[in-house]
């Protein structure tokens, strides 16, 4: 990366870290929610954007992570154990979801992952003894780590931001490693990738498992942020929103989900000035964006240059 890009990146990070200190609770809450969706979006970008595996099941992993955090924190388990547990559980379930991807591709895979999302939704809704069913789980405590309670909105935001930076750095390393190139090869031409010795089975499964683990971490932050979980936010509509996040930002671009989650999480809030029309305006903007910027917002400079 050029020095200029480093400066822009560090300035951007400093802005995101410090801006909420000047905001009221509403702004802090929304920025935290943006970070949470961004972590899940980064995971989906790996699965969809880098490895080329379509997935309509990311909300299910967000849900598994959120319910893991809710159930474990209510049972008094410390958050230091909850984050790895949520990530590990989603990694394993993601690995299992990767198996259909070894046999089917494209829209068939989309429906397989959609079915998985519905399955998870039904488990969350019907297994009342574990998940609280339709009533959900309320009063989820904010985390305490190393004796520090992240109870105030700004403190919890800084914890979420720290997790975002950590997961972002890990993702950057992963994508720059041979694994990243193997994922890209798998996406661009699986047959050629296999012919040059890339284990496509392994990398397909890993693309799902790692993407799912990111959503699990995001879920483990979602639960203490909202302090309430019920099945509805983890349905198929949220999976579609997450896919929109990846595509609207720029699929297969590192910073794509950051802009995409601005579109999905923050834009509807900014459009509230349009009163009853705000969701209609949002829908119109998405349609317009897909028509004029199919490569996502990050493709705007290339489009301007052309």
């Amino acid at each position: 990366m050029s020095p200029l890009r480093w400066i822009i990146l560090l300035a951007g990070l400093a802005f995101v870290a410090l801006a909420p200190t000047q905001m009221k609770n509403y702004g802090v809450y929304l920025t935290t929610l943006w970070c949470v969706y961004l972590i899940a979006g980064m995971g989906l970008n790996l699965t969809v954007g880098y490895a080329g595996q379509i997935s309509l099941g990311q909300a299910a992993f967000l849900g598994i992570g959120a319910y893991t955090a809710a159930i474990m924190s209510k049972a008094g388990v410390p958050y230091l154990a909850i984050f790895p547990a949520a990530a590990a559980l989603c990694f394993v379930v993601g690995l299992l979801l990767g198996f259909p991807a070894l046999r089917v591709q494209h829209h068939y895979l989309a429906f397989a992952t959609l079915g998985f999302n519905m399955l998870v939704f039904l488990v969350l809704r019907n297994e009342e003894w574990l998940t609280g069913g339709t009533f959900g789980i309320n009063n989820i405590p904010r985390p305490t780590l190393f004796g520090w309670r992240f109870n105030r909105p700004l403190d919890f935001y800084h914890l979420t931001f720290a997790v975002l930076v950590l997961t972002g750095v890990l993702m950057a390393f992963l994508l720059r490693s041979p694994w990243g190139r193997a994922f890209a090869a798998l996406r661009d031409n699986p047959i050629r990738a296999e012919s040059v010795g890339i284990n496509t089975t392994f990398y397909t499964l890993m693309a799902f498992a790692i993407g799912a683990a990111y959503a699990g971490i995001a879920g483990a932050l979602f639960a203490p942020l909202v302090q309430f979980v019920e099945p509805a936010p983890f349905g198929f509509a949220t999976s579609l929103s997450m896919l929109l996040m990846v595509i609207a930002g720029g699929s297969g671009r590192f910073f794509g989900p950051a802009l995409g989650s601005v579109v999905v999480v923050l834009l509807p809030e900014w459009l509230r000035f349009a009163a009853d029309w705000y969701l209609a305006v949002f829908g119109f903007l998405i349609v317009a964006m897909m028509i004029w910027l199919p490569g996502g917002l990050l493709s705007l400079p290339e489009r301007v240059r052309r």
Partner: protein, 381 residues
Amino acid sequence: MMHRRTALKLGAALATIGLPAGAAESEVAIHNNVELSGTGVTSGSMWKMGVDLAVKEINAAGGILGRKIAITHQDNQSQPQIAKAVATKAADAEPYVMLGPIFSGDVNVSMAVAENAEIPMIMGGEAANLTQQGMKYLFRTSLNQASAMPKLANYLAKNGVKSMVVVWGANDFGKGGRDAMVKEMAARNIKLAADISTEPGQMDFSPVVVNASKANADALFSYMNEEESARFLIALKKLGYDKPVYGETVLVSQKVIELAGPAANGAKGHVGLSVDAPNPKVQEFGRKFMQAYNTSSDHNGIKGYTAVYLVKAATEKLGKFDRKAMAAAIHGGSFSAAQYPGLLMDESYDDKGDLDRESYLVEIKDGKQVITEVLPPVGKK
């Protein structure tokens, strides 16, 4: 091409549409956190219309203690994480009172925000557990499921129902009502002949009707949201189900009657709020609502309307604008409709924020709710 001045004017106009009216000294700010999109849109829209009607009337009559109400409506998309954002935004603005939401999940996240900010929150949720969590600033606008179901179960037992099919929507509202009713049935030795769950948004209810018929019970109890209830009534009529069909509030609501058409005829149930109640104040409200919106108000319209009038009644009783004192005044307080006509009915609150008032047993005849019995408030028994 658009002139620059026109564009500027348009931009300025757009920027001001829907902006919360800043509560000046002569105004009192009320924020409404409500389901105006998503699965709760039917309930939320009615609630909003009720709120708007009350605000218009109160402002036209000089406001509350001489201050006009500045109302702000914010859509929570029927999603708890958005409802929490909306509640947080409202709390940041430090309104006098927060109104809504209606769905239990949305209420659950919003009430914690209101509690921390010490702002009274008058909501439309009916799930029993909402007021059982020790909140000091949470108030209902209708009976909760735990108080409504015994009234209906008593009626069923009195009419010789020995076995019943229970059909419910698989969300917090449906499941909460189902649990409350099954408990009351067991207490009165009414057998649960079939326990059938349905999906929110379900379109085809034929299999449900077939399973209900197979159970061969004395009656059927249906507890779902508005659209599903209407579709279910249509399916029951189409497939010739001939046993009595009962419901609580939603099944016999104006919205369901409007959606189901003639298929709603014959349905019976208990309602806490009805514009056809044998009460001149409620009927007058029904006429005003119809005149303003060209549609009948259902229970959510009445809830929204009375929520605003409760703010007025409690504040005027107190003689000042004081959030903490107002919340304390509503707890254990009684408000008479003779003194505060906008409340439509006498109501009293307990220390948890639960509401008690009279309610009705109704039957749908020729597309109209006909009241068959007026039930006194639980506390008067």
